[in-house]
Symmetry: C2
Subunit: 349 residues, 2 copies
């Protein structure tokens, strides 16, 4: 059955039936607004991010449940990057009338499954019809002890740059679908790993909180627009420059394998590819050991990838031959990418 | 200049420059998430609602600033219906690449102007490109003293139904654009009044808070889907029925004038027309006087329009001849309306 045959209220009831709740949700879906009890002594964090069909995902390359997963994951990553605990989500859907209700059920199921894993309650939302592409717009609220949110500002020259996660796999995952014919020689598990990084990224929520709990972080950002882009955001907010070390960058093995098969440079994927949802932190040199220990305790991969410098030194990278090159700050700019040529990060329509 | 020529970050900087803030905003637009300090002793309310071009508004019938105004106003109305104070908004935009940046500036200006009036800080948001219609998706957060949010549940048989505002004008405003040729005899100020109710509704924020402050409200809902529909929601949540009094319904004078010119029944517009953003409350009979006084002090129009009954009596209306008729519960269902014939409430494409 196509959802155009269901009414708004029937559809909402269908999707939100038996939603998991939390003790701090006084009133969830179904009234004019949700009523939520903030944890005592805490501040709230609030973020919103949207996925648009044909641009951020396609039904050809993602399962519906993966699309739902990713729509929430990208928001969870933002909350993780504040060092906060995610609590409550509002899910706004813009739906074409011809969408099959079973597809929507699976998509929403992907949101629900990830929400459940992180004990996030879906407390509200909205459904509208659209003549355009299916769009999932999620607002996520979280909390952290007052004054303890980790922002992009606060990095200082001399700080070590610590990266949690790996780089390049999500962009390699795009290549899995666009360049499949040329990737016959790549190991299936590397293909699957890259695809998974692209369609169902894993937000580093526990690690973000563990990092914040060390009390030693100067700044943090999630790497969603590409390392170069997000590092430039952190540097701009902190008023500093940065020097990366090429040899230290944790290029994802899937990115390495796929780049190699295509005759591309894995390092470029790692630096400019978006959607890795890694966490990039600035910490004082004397805090590096404690930071690494905190991350390792959560089971995540961690690397020291360079350091912050004076602002006038800009963004640079020391290559493996010892030479130093300037990095173009431009990461993955969603609008330019989407609106100009179908470049890096844009899905085939 | 078309916005496709601007990048995402440039566009965000352009729109959010000099945004008004609040003392409880520790960090606004520009990081991974906003950081907000909830008022002590309070609960939060959270709601989201979206406007889609061609469905909820058109650029032919609304000025860009009115579109922005309405996108925030519909959310403010939901917060008003909880009796809460609006605090913080996240504005998510899905934009066609060919949109003129001056149009976007004016639209966002409409959001900012209304936010400023109600001391709401825009603390976050998102911008994506879309191949579909322009869409404005706003999440609004507010607060009320713990335990004092007014829900749809809690109405009791015997309660008086109190309505703040008037009915039918917003639907009449749709007719102003679709039936203009047949409305030559209607006074210009009535035409303008109806148009204004449709394109730039006034959310009853102060009145909602004043009502909640009386401490006597059993239930409240905003009338966005039509009186019949929203009354049925309140009755369902409260487990009651209702009996309206036709003579007591505050039909907006513009709805009366326009219905009359078209040979339609104004009462039908008043009962089934959506988007009036009135407030409908249930109060014990002994609290009616205090309730009316509280509303009147805010300068809003108020009427006692009927009463709640036992659930098995359903939704009924006493007509002016004394007879009692059943009311169809179906209000304005956004999806059915949008997806089937271009019926009531749907804008011409």
């Amino acid at each position: 059955v196509e959802i155009g045959e269901l009414g708004e209220f029937g559809l909402i009831a269908r999707l939100t039936q038996g939603l998991k709740t939390r003790k701090d949700v006084a009133l969830g879906v179904g009234d004019d607004a949700a009523v939520l009890t903030p944890p005592p002594g805490s501040q709230l964090v609030a973020t919103c991010d949207a996925l648009v069909a044909g641009q951020h995902f396609t039904f050809q390359t993602s399962e519906p449940a993966e699309i739902g997963h990713k729509a929430l994951a990208v928001n969870l990553s933002d909350v993780a990057a504040m060092g906060a605990e995610p609590l409550w989500a509002l899910v706004s859907l813009h739906l074409p009338s011809r969408l099959e209700s079973s597809t929507l059920d699976a998509l929403y199921g992907g949101i629900r499954a990830l929400a459940r894993r992180f004990d996030v309650a879906i407390v509200g939302g909205n459904i509208t019809a659209t003549t355009g592409p299916l769009t999932i717009d999620i607002t996520l609220l979280g909390a952290c002890p007052t004054g303890r949110a980790i922002t992009r500002a606060g990095g200082q020259p001399g700080d070590a740059l610590v990266l949690v996660g790996t780089l390049g796999a999500a962009t390699a995952g795009l290549l899995v679908s666009t360049e499949r014919d040329r990737l016959g020689g790549v190991a299936p598990e590397m293909m699957a790993r890259a695809r998974h990084a692209q369609v169902a990224p894993e937000p580093l929520v526990e690690t973000g909180r563990a990092l914040a709990a060390t009390g030693t972080l100067h700044a943090m950002i999630d790497v969603s627009d590409g390392l170069a882009g997000d590092l430039s955001h952190l540097c701009a907010a902190s008023g500093v420059g940065a020097l990366l070390e090429a040899r230290a960058l944790p290029v994802d093995p899937a990115a390495g394998a796929i780049a190699s098969a295509l005759g591309r440079e894995a390092l470029t994927l790692a630096i400019t590819g978006g959607e890795d949802y890694a966490l990039l932190c600035a910490v004082a040199p004397e805090s590096v050991a404690a930071t690494l220990a905190a991350v390792t305790a959560t089971g995540a991969a961690v690397s020291v990838i360079g350091k912050l410098t004076a602002a006038d030194e800009g963004l640079r990278i020391q290559l493996s031959d010892g030479s130093v090159a300037s990095i173009e700050a431009s990461g993955w700019d969603h609008l330019r990418g989407a609106w100009s040529s179908p470049g890096r990060g844009t899905h085939p329509a």
